[in-house]
């Protein structure tokens, strides 16, 4: 059969192109535009070439925020993934406990970011916060407003509280899809609890775990609202992650050029990481 060529068909994708243009391409181009210019207000711009990019890549502030962010992502992954697997393994597989657990697990995910931040901001305060007050009453000197370590602990515990559920639910979905026959066969083969986990449960969870790691890494790498509400990036700059730094630069100092350059670099990093994950996952699928 001959294919019919009709270039008018391009009009069918026009609405989508317009939408994408207004939602993504045009704003992005504006950022590109800012990143190579300097302005002192009044809509007067001066050509700045790659000055902002060079400055950014030599700025300690940027690299420190980046390192902080990577450490943060690494820590929360190291906690949330094993913890999520552990909880998922111990959740009931049938009976009335299933809906109860699922609802409990889904609750933190339904709470808006800034509300989570506010909850923990109040919860951790050592004058009126339930957690902060009693931790101090037990003799620990805990004050997330002044102590960088306490601030980190608070932000990490908050993230674990908020997002471990996601890992749990994904792992749980992987686990319940394993037919009973696998466990029965394992019993007959005399497999230990560890062997069941290692050779049945983990392989079946591998795919969802990959997705969980991807989502949690991306989200934590772009985290903004919760630490901003709790610590505002402080004390000092100790919890200033990339996005908080970006907002400080763009809206606090109103340095549009450097902020635009930073946005682009940030965007490219995220894009690169997404690509790496995507490649890993598709290769993994192809291998199957």
């Amino acid at each position: 059969m001959d294919k019919t060529w009709n270039n008018k068909a391009w009009f069918l994708v026009l609405p989508m192109l317009v939408l994408v243009a207004f939602s993504a391409v045009i704003p992005l181009m504006t950022v590109v535009n800012y990143s190579v210019q300097d302005t002192f207000g009044n809509n007067v711009f001066f050509w700045a070439s790659t000055e902002w990019f060079e400055e950014l890549l030599h700025s300690d502030r940027f690299w420190e925020a980046m390192v902080r962010n990577l450490i943060f992502s690494f820590i929360i992954l190291a906690i949330e993934v094993p913890l999520g697997i552990f909880i998922a393994l111990n959740m009931p597989k049938k009976g009335w406990g299933v809906p109860v657990c699922l609802v409990l697990m889904a609750l933190p995910l339904l709470i808006p970011w800034n509300v989570v931040g506010t909850i923990w901001q109040v919860f951790g305060r050592n004058d009126i916060g339930l957690l902060g007050y009693y931790v101090n009453a037990l003799g620990f000197n805990y004050n997330y407003v002044q102590d960088p370590f306490d601030a980190w602990v608070t932000v990490i515990v908050m993230d674990v509280w908020h997002w471990t559920s996601l890992v749990v639910l994904l792992c749980y979905a992987g686990l319940v899809s394993i037919p009973d026959a696998f466990y029965q066969a394992a019993k007959i083969d005399g497999a230990s609890r560890w062997a069941v986990f290692r050779y049945i449960q983990l392989p079946k969870m591998q795919r969802v775990l990959l997705i969980a790691v991807l989502l949690r890494f991306m989200d934590s790498f772009m985290i903004y609202t919760e630490p901003f509400v709790v610590t505002g990036g402080g004390p000092g700059n100790s919890t200033t992650f990339l996005s908080i730094d970006l907002v400080k630069t763009a809206l606090g100092q109103f340095d549009l050029g450097p902020a635009a350059a930073m946005s682009l670099v940030y965007f490219l990093i995220i894009l690169l990481l997404s690509w790496v994950f995507y490649t890993v996952m598709t290769n993994y699928d192809a291998e199957r």
Binding site: P179, A181, F182, Q184, A185, K187, I188, D189, G190, A191, S192, A195, Y199, I200, P203, K204, R288
Partner: protein, 355 residues
Amino acid sequence: MARIEVNHIRHSYLPNPQKDSDFALKEVHHTFEDGGAYALLGPSGCGKTTLLNIISGLLHPSHGRLLFNGRDVTNLSTQERNIAQVFQFPVIYDTMTVYDNLAFPLRNRRVPEADVDRKVRETLDMIDLASMANRKARRLTADQKQKISLGRGLVRSDVNAILFDEPLTVIDPHMKWVLRSQLKQLHRRFGYTMVYVTHDQTEALTFADRVVVMYDGEIVQIGTPAELFERPRHTFVGYFIGSPGMNVLPVSLDGRTAKLGAQRIELPGVPKAEAGAVELGIRPEYVRLGREGMAVQVSKVEDVGRHKVVRANLEGREIAAVIGEDDEVPAEPKVRFNPAGINIYADSWRVEIGA
């Protein structure tokens, strides 16, 4: 290998069974002889998988004892009973190679690696997968995977029995034949005690020396394929085995004759039937369609290949008869029952026909 005694076993999935209907397995009392090939045949929900899981130890019965070679194993775990079981869907360990899959049950039992290697290679030869030893198991076809499941049972030389739970359900038809004959061959060569659960009568009849027919949580008949065909002990066996199933007609008895409406059917002897609803059972293969006998109205002729199945109406009852591929249905069709194929049932259970 072991002789398996199922001693008055009852099982219920409910915590407090009261009535008979609460039991998935009403009462089973039977001995599977050492080295026998048995099929448990029955419709879905008849309790055959429950019985199998009780033998393997995945379930513990509510009542009764289970003995292997005279030793009580009722409270032993699956592992301690040393049983192999092949499930409906192939169970393989995805991340392992074929070799490692077979080695898994041995390594779990801390068998020295040299023995593992010897046994695994032997088993690979037995199931014809030697050439694939180092392939990842998840890339094999369904029938190869099912062979691995079987192999994991065969690899342990000391297994007491090999149990099969509808193992060929997901296998392509042409491979079913191959696998089934390989199973028979293994059985003949090594004399394993095998119990094979299925709802497919062809599978049961070709695989087993003795077929255990189950219905509604009970064993209704145990016999060779020929016995099940010629002398079904229960009308259910008559219906369930054979295609089409046995014709069962309500009759009243009068000495050597059975009365069906206006028709009188000569019996080979006097049935020893006491009270109860009496029925006459005759397989379509023993119904002769011709110009003599009882008048019938033919409603349908089904050509099933090697023969034809004639559906007809006899005294208001639906009956089936089998005729040859080239036979014609006569203009005024009549049927006669071959006395050799007549069985009499009282309350669904077969009664002996005396001289």
